[in-house]
């Protein structure tokens, strides 16, 4: 399905498809900003607090900037964003397509010579591949800011010292590998969700099952691929 959808990428430039993609980007991205903001902010705060409390034993709490930034850029940013999108957007995609399948709307599209993969999968795939890195960068920024808030309010690390330390060990490689992961995670979420949606059978029960399977498979795939990409770019 992924390969077939990618063959239709060229049609994404068409006006009709572009409108579909933008609408999917709005649904997947803009409407998820609220939950992503809260999750990212508290992820950064938790990271800063846990790391800072341990580092404070040695008087090294000023290094929480580095710890939070590197962890957010490399792992937590892409991972947390992918989990949120898989749980909210992926399940919605699976339910949407699954409902269309069980109500034979997909069959009607085929009767009208409309390719369901091009019409349903390609816009969602493209929108998630574009929106995931943007949302990941947004998560990273909010997470780092959350760490700075905890540092300034609870660990006596000034904002200046925090951000000065944050850029000490973080590199562009960390940022872009994280963004690459998010692109892959977007592809995984869209593909799994669409595949589970098209595989829906047995009516409403099948839709629920497709939704649940989408979330589970997406989570597991994200974890495994996340490790593999990290292993690929960060060798011992």
């Amino acid at each position: 399905m992924l390969g077939e959808a990618m063959t239709h990428f060229r049609s994404a430039l068409k006006r009709r498809a572009r409108h579909d993609i933008v609408e999917q980007m709005y649904v997947a991205g803009i409407k998820s900003l609220g939950v992503i903001t809260v999750v990212a902010l508290f992820t950064g705060m938790i990271l800063a607090l846990q790391t800072g409390l341990e580092l404070r034993r040695f008087g090294l709490q000023a290094n929480i900037g580095t710890a939070v930034t590197v962890v957010m850029l490399r792992e937590m940013g892409p991972f947390m964003t992918a989990l949120i999108i898989a749980a909210s957007v992926g399940s919605a995609i699976a339910a949407h397509i699954g409902t269309m399948v069980v109500s034979e709307e997909v069959a009607a599209l085929e009767i009208m010579s409309i390719n369901p993969v091009r019409f349903l999968v390609m816009p969602r795939l493209v929108s998630l591949m574009i929106m995931m890195p943007l949302l990941t960068l947004f998560t990273n920024i909010i997470g780092v800011i959350g760490g700075a808030i905890v540092g300034a309010t609870q660990l006596e690390v000034t904002m200046t010292a925090y951000f000065d330390n944050a850029r000490l060990f973080a590199q562009n490689k960390d940022l872009y590998v994280g963004l690459l992961k998010s692109v892959v995670f977007g592809m995984v979420i869209a593909t799994v969700a669409c595949h589970q949606g098209f595989s829906t059978t047995e009516g409403a029960v099948g839709v629920g099952r497709a939704t649940r399977r989408t979330v589970i498979i997406s989570f597991l795939t994200i974890l495994v691929l996340g490790y593999m990409i990290t292993r690929l770019f960060y060798k011992l």
Binding site: H19, I30, F58, L134, L137, L168, F169
Partner: protein, 330 residues
Amino acid sequence: MSSSRKRLIGIELIVGSFMFLILCALGFVTIILSYDNVFTKSYEMTVLFQDVTGLIRGDKVYVQGVDVGRVKDMLITKDGVEVDLTLKYEVRLREDYSIRVEPSSVLGGRFVAIKEGSDDAPLLPSEATIVGDPPIDIIAEASAAIKEIRSALEEGGILGNLEATMANVRELSDKLKNGEGTLGKLLTDDTLYEDVEKMASNLRSISDRLEKGEGSLGKLMNDDEVYDNIAAISADLKEVSGRLARGEGTIGKLFAPDDTLYKDLSEAVASMNKVMGSISSGEGTLGKLVNDDELYEELKNALVEVRAMLDDLRETSPFTSLTSIFFGAF
């Protein structure tokens, strides 16, 4: 324009704005993480090290302790490791400059420390290759120090001395614990404490009596009459000593510079000697009295006779008296 069209334009506007902001943020973060500050002027410097001991990109660069830049890049060449530094401050190296990779903490981390050199040294030519100093290996130095200490402990006999000292200390502590010796008794025996307490009590009693003016010392301390008497005595002594000094009185004359009294006394003593010599040699009446026994015998006999005569007179005196009474009228 239909409502669906308006809605689509609104969505595109929101999504486009979000993408624009995020892409701007991406560019900003990329610039920040690349250690290149495009908004301020920076200076480049390349230093050749033989060993950078784990220096990495982004490590800090200090000039005389001030953070002035970062390590931008490193390249291994046949001459060593070329380290590119990005500095906010234009470093002016002199001939006696020093650039060293130093550990930032025991837990790890490195930084580049630059010392520009003394003011009296000439400036380094701009085309000169800047060479860093060999690194300081703290762990190696610490290992060497530990080895020296261990050698001193084992071969220098320090351990043996320590063991002997500890044995002595243990023996001493045992004695103290058992109350042996003066110090042990001090620690274990309460007698000294009780004695000291009694002494303190006595001292307190004495001080109370002194304060109350009891006893001679107390009166001396509290009664002004004694002082007045002593003052009067001292005044009298002063007067006497003044008179002595002025040669007044007999004793004063003795002390006086005039030797008239002395001469008179000498002459008197000489005369006395002369008289005593005459007496001793039996000259004169007194000398014969002293030296001649015949006179003594004669005087003794004369006294015997006088006593006998008086006895006779006493025996005859009643008769004499009676006859004188009877015959006195005739």
